[in-house]
């Protein structure tokens, strides 16, 4: 059962060798001679090109690209190459083989599915690459406005002609970021009615998006069409930005009327992108909230700026642990008494632990101490009251601190020093001798009862007292980074500070400790120096017979 018999020409050359089996081959094949006439076409080829019968001219029955390729194959002396072209809905690949008599067999392969698959694969790859890029760019910033900018710019350059990001209302206004064609985003804050855009109020509540075809672009309010978007919107997508628990906002994508409308796969992809943008925005917002809380607490906990009070100099230094997100730990304050002849209360302390708990405890101690200032005459009593305030059944977080009540009495300055479980203050004499104040007491906030012994110390002009936290003495350094700075090194350091003003003492101690730890991690370090200036400064002393004690 061959159609050979009815053929007007006799099969020649290659065709003869192939025999009749090719006529039933599932792939189209046709033979043409050097003059461009069809010699033979198999059933599949005739199905594809209905006019391709023996004797017909190729030019009349096959697409131009194939006829051209056949002509070129005849002209060139070298073996012809495969060609590719379209025929109706199909993409065909035509592979030529040359017979000895100049006939060429064209084997045709339907390439359509492979091309479609390749196109789909390429677009999937592009989307994946875009998503990966988008994620890293979105997550690069923990700043909410910046994150909004990145999201709309990415959306407006890859997904649509323009994009708007509408955040949940802050008060009555919705923060909005918009970009046209990937241009830098514009921020605004507007009192808008989300229900004016189909699906927007739902998206802002985190409900799934409505299909794009439900949204009539003609009904978009003015605010939903960014400035610079030329021409009316042809299609619109509104999709929610899912956050952590609560919606992070909604994304509106616009395409111009002369561009293709969003298809189903693009809508799905917009949701995938929105999920990433939502996660990034939500993270940024939570970070901003946390940073806000930390900043508020930090302001309360920042070491105060110290000034000379009634002829005595005070200087403080604080070097926080590099563990930046952790706050709290060490603190110091100087409270001048109400009257000119009253003592000044200086306090330096160290709260157990870190983080918010420690910060709250620090705040509590500083506030309570300020309230108890009138009772500073009796340090032990003051500590007992403070202890009672802080004591709780829930935990045994405690604080250790040193109280220093200071009063200049003419030439000498009288200090009452009390340690509550804290390293004892150091006294630097003019001779360079360093003494430890003889005070001891119980830590505050953990035990039902506390005791303390107050030391009284007299400072001459040029002498100083140093309060410090164990962050200094415990700081690990040295050649191998495993040796503590220790009390001995600290005493040597302050011995060199004899006669120096408080500020210089603090600077020197801080510098040596910083050198000791180098770049290594360390705990909070706080120092507070109290110094009595040399008598030449006496004219500045609280109006009591100025200059009387000059030497």
């Amino acid at each position: 059962m061959t159609t050979f018999e009815g053929a007007s020409r006799q099969p020649r050359g290659l065709v003869r060798h192939v025999g009749a089996s090719w006529m039933q081959a599932p792939y189209p094949a046709l033979v043409a001679d050097s003059s461009g006439g069809v010699v033979e076409a198999n059933a599949a080829a005739t199905h594809l090109f209905p006019g391709a019968v023996s004797g017909a001219w190729l030019d009349h029955v096959v697409p131009g690209w194939l006829a051209d390729a056949h002509r070129r194959a005849g002209e060139e002396g070298q073996p012809p190459r495969p060609v590719r072209g379209r025929h109706e809905d199909l993409t065909l690949e035509a592979h030529p083989t040359v017979g000895t008599d100049g006939d060429i067999v064209w084997w045709l392969v339907d390439d359509t599915d492979r091309l479609l698959a390749e196109t789909a694969l390429r677009s999937e790859r592009e989307r994946t690459a875009f998503l990966a890029d988008a994620s890293s760019r979105l997550l690069a910033s923990l700043n909410v406005p910046r994150c909004m900018e990145v999201a709309v710019q990415l959306a407006a350059s890859h997904l649509a002609d323009a994009a708007l990001l509408v955040m949940p209302a802050a008060g009555r206004r919705h923060p909005i970021a918009a970009s046209v064609g990937g241009a830098p985003a514009e921020h605004s804050s507007a009192r808008i009615d989300p229900s004016a855009v189909t699906g927007l109020s739902e998206a802002l509540q985190g409900f799934p998006p409505v299909p794009s075809r439900w949204i009539d672009p003609a009904t978009l309010p003015d605010w939903a069409v960014p400035e610079g978007f030329d021409g009316p919107a042809g299609s619109v997508v509104v999709t929610p930005l899912p956050g952590h628990g609560i919606p992070a906002g909604a994304l509106i994508l616009l395409r111009r009327g002369d561009h293709a409308a969003f298809d189903a796969s693009e809508e799905v992809f917009a949701r995938v992108f929105a999920a990433r943008a939502g996660a990034a925005l939500s993270a940024a917002r939570m970070y901003a909230e946390q940073a806000g809380i930390t900043a508020t607490l930090m302001v309360e906990l920042l070491p105060p700026k110290l000034h000379p009070v009634r002829g005595v100099e005070y200087a403080g230094g604080y070097r926080a642990s590099r563990d930046t997100e952790r706050i709290g730990g060490d603190f110091y304050d100087v409270h001048p008494g109400a009257g000119s002849d009253q003592e000044t209360l200086a306090v330096l302390g160290d709260v157990c632990g870190k983080g918010l708990d420690a910060a709250v405890l620090t705040g509590k101690i500083r506030t309570t101490l300020q309230a108890l200032l009138p009772l500073a005459e009796d340090h032990e009593k003051l500590l007992r009251l403070l202890n009672g305030t802080l004591l709780t059944g829930r935990h045994t977080r405690y604080a250790t601190l040193v109280l220093a009540s200071v009063r200049r009495e003419g030439r000498v300055t009288r200090l009452r020093l009390t340690s509550a479980g804290h390293p004892r203050p150091l006294i630097v004499r003019r001779s360079g001798e360093v003494e430890e104040a003889d005070t001891a007491g119980t830590l505050i906030g953990a035990l039902p009862d506390v005791h303390a012994r107050t030391a009284e110390v007299l400072l001459q002009p040029g002498e100083a007292c140093l309060l410090y936290t164990d962050g200094i003495t415990e700081a690990k350094g040295g050649p191998l980074g495993d040796v503590r700075f220790g009390t001995r090194r600290l005493r040597e350091a302050v011995a060199d500070c004899a006669g120096m003003p408080a500020e210089a003492v603090v600077e020197r101690v801080q510098m040596l400790a910083a050198e000791w730890v180098g770049g290594r991690p360390h705990d909070d370090m706080a120092v507070l120096a109290i110094s009595v200036p040399h008598s030449t400064h006496l004219t500045a002393v609280d109006g009591r017979t100025p200059g009387r004690y000059t030497t």
Binding site: D350, C352, G353, K354, H395, T396, R397, Y398, T400, A420, G421, H422, P423, A440, G441, T442, L443, A446, L447, P448, D449, V450, H451, A452, D482, V483, R484, G486, T487, R488
Partner: protein, 144 residues
């Protein structure tokens, strides 16, 4: 006065070893650094015994292999002490290394722990005695 002997001590990872002896005595050997990362573990181990129906008569924390005790570590010891007092258990900090002794001394808590070892009878007069009648629990045994 420098105390740096523990600087040369070899690093030891934190660990607890609990042994229960006769007469409801519990011994916990504490190894390594007791700090903000490990204090909770010791606290939980101690609580498990102190909150049981029959709390131990003595709780010994063997500190011989303790390499460091920071402020959170001391806070944990103070809390264990508080729980022990409530449970009628005597807390002993045994084989204290120099740095722990120094820390307890500095923070004024040495006496506090010493009283706990001696038991309720020797508590200072200003502290309320435990409510013997109310709970119906027997008075603490006399030392010696």
């Amino acid at each position: 006065m420098t105390t740096v002997p523990d600087d040369t001590a070899p690093d030891e990872t934190f660990g607890l070893e609990v042994t229960t002896g006769e007469e409801r005595d519990v011994r916990v050997q504490v190894r390594g650094d007791l700090d903000h990362e490990t204090a909770e573990e010791l606290l939980e181990a101690a609580r498990a015994h102190l909150r049981s129906d029959r709390p131990p008569r003595h709780l010994h924390l063997d500190c011989a292999r303790l390499t460091l005790c920071d402020s959170m570590g001391l806070a944990a010891l103070l809390l264990i002490h508080r729980h022990a007092l409530a449970a009628g258990t005597r807390l002993h900090l045994d084989n204290r290394p120099g740095m722990l002794e120094h820390l307890l001394e500095l923070t004024g808590t040495l006496d506090h722990f010493a009283q706990a070892e001696k038991g309720g009878d020797d508590r200072p007069a200003h502290e309320d005695p435990p409510p013997h009648s109310a709970a119906g629990s027997p008075p603490p045994a006399h030392p010696g």
